[in-house]
């Protein structure tokens, strides 16, 4: 699969109610990449997503996404927000939720429900959740719901997938499964995944690059470049240690504590 640039930001700045969130961001993101977006709460990670979705304007600079300006409703950008509230009483099945992601933005009543159901089922298959298709949403676990939302985001065949803290509230095993799944989607669908996370460690084996948003600046690079004690200490302005074990696995110490102070 040939790589092409799908997001280009030049001197990009964004503000929320006159307060600058981050500024002068420069980055390029190519297709088929798995990228983690990290940074303390309130640093502007979700703001970056809302910008890419065309939900908020940027204050200065340039932003090109999939060859155009960001625009709301672009079917080539899939989105899984942080909080979904699902009624525990609802008997609506998972397939219907995925289906609404396909045609929910069109007026009127669907004239081809069977075709839509097939496409929704295909999307559930991609996330390995075929067996959930006819289960009521209210009866699904957090991890199962995440898969359904992922399928809902994938059903419009996006080139870019924005996942806002999909790992929150998952236990270690489900966290690992979801990361594995996201990584497989990147490879099999050629989608670029931007994933907001707090804990970098479980993501390290599959990441192509990392975006760090700290103190109003965005730094992008490969995990090897970003994950040095010097680079992180400089970014956070507080001592952070990066350890590598005999198999080259990385552990970052200091960040999680830092992050939890903000929660």
């Amino acid at each position: 699969m040939s790589l092409r640039t799908i997001i280009t930001a030049k001197n990009l700045s964004v503000a929320y109610t006159n307060r600058t969130i981050w500024s002068d961001a420069n980055f390029e993101i190519s297709s088929g990449k798995f990228i983690a977006v990290l940074g303390p709460n309130g640093a502007g990670k979700t703001t970056l997503f809302r910008l890419l979705l065309g939900l908020i304007p940027y204050t200065s600079g340039e932003l090109s996404i999939l060859g155009g300006k960001p625009k709301r409703g672009n079917p080539r950008v899939g989105y899984v927000p942080q909080r979904h509230t699902i009624d525990r009483d609802t008997a609506i099945e998972a397939l219907e939720m995925v289906r609404i992601g396909l045609s929910g933005n069109r007026w009127g009543v669907s004239l081809s429900p069977e075709k839509e159901r097939q496409m929704a089922l295909e999307s559930l298959r991609i996330v390995g959740a075929e067996e959930l298709a006819h289960r009521p949403l209210g009866k699904l676990s957090g991890g199962e719901l995440q898969r359904v939302f992922l399928a809902e985001a994938l059903v419009s065949k996006p080139d870019l997938l924005l996942l806002d803290e999909p790992l929150a509230n998952l236990d270690i095993r489900r966290e690992k499964n979801l990361i594995q799944l996201a990584s497989e989607i990147v490879k099999s669908q050629g989608v670029t995944v931007l994933l907001i996370a707090h804990n970098i460690n479980p993501l390290l084996p599959v990441l192509d690059s990392v975006m760090y948003i700290v103190e109003g600046k965005i730094t992008t690079g490969t995990p090897n470049k970003i994950f040095t004690s010097e680079a992180l200490t400089k970014l956070y302005g507080t001592p952070i240690e990066v350890l590598r074990d005999s198999q080259g696995r990385v552990a970052v110490l200091g960040i999680e504590e830092e992050l939890h102070h903000h929660e």
């Binding site: 609802t90 992601g101 933005n105």
Partner: protein, 279 residues
Amino acid sequence: MNNPSFSFNIWNDFIHMLGYDFMLHAFCAGTIVAIVAGIIGYFVVIRRSSFAAHALSHIGFTGAAGSVLLGLSPLSGLLTFTVGGGIFMATLDRESENRDVQVGTVLAFLLGLGVLFISLYSGYATEAYSLLFGEILGISSQNVFITLIAGILILCVTAIIYRPLLFTSLDQDVAEARGVPVRMINIIFMILLAAAVSISVQVVGVLLIFALLVTPAAIAQYIARSPMQGIGLSVAISLLVTWFGLFISFYQPYPVSFFITAAVFALYIFVRIIHAIKA
């Protein structure tokens, strides 16, 4: 046709009933209202907007009392106040934790105003009673006609915005990102709800609005696997209980609204018990 008596031949009884104008009107209006309330109610339940339905019906009470005082038809005041209230509520911030408090505060004031209007009106008791508890058996042919027009309009608009409304109701953040005009959809829905509340008040009154606008849909939501199925079931339940209520009330001197609310409550309890046993 002097002494109506139950003959166990339900179809014949039914035909006999429709020979009376007031029963024919009641069945026509009741049917339209049940269909509209079943559909709109489903969205009320999946959006968790039942407080809005409750609030709108009470706001409608003041509007109706005001127009009675001015010598106008209660339905016109109901529609004006509920639509106004609906638009106001749609513009309040969905995330705001104080939203219910804000709405409740305005509501209490408006209800107080309603009480004042009713007391200023000489026909105090009967008018207040029918607004609060519904008086479907007294519905005029003109009101049946208005109900029909309102019902058709509500159904048409709902059909047009069906998918964006469903998307917004189930998954507002994603719907917004996918380009659904969620703000506009929310406002349109509140207007639809306002109109549905207004015509439903004729059947069950402002205090019993839940019986038609929430409970049938809540039952449907327990069972239905898809939104279309849910809407179908919700309509079926509200039709069933409305017809049941009208049918019984032909033979009994007690209020229609009682039979409707009792039937829907029994059904609700039944479904919940079945649900609990299965779980």
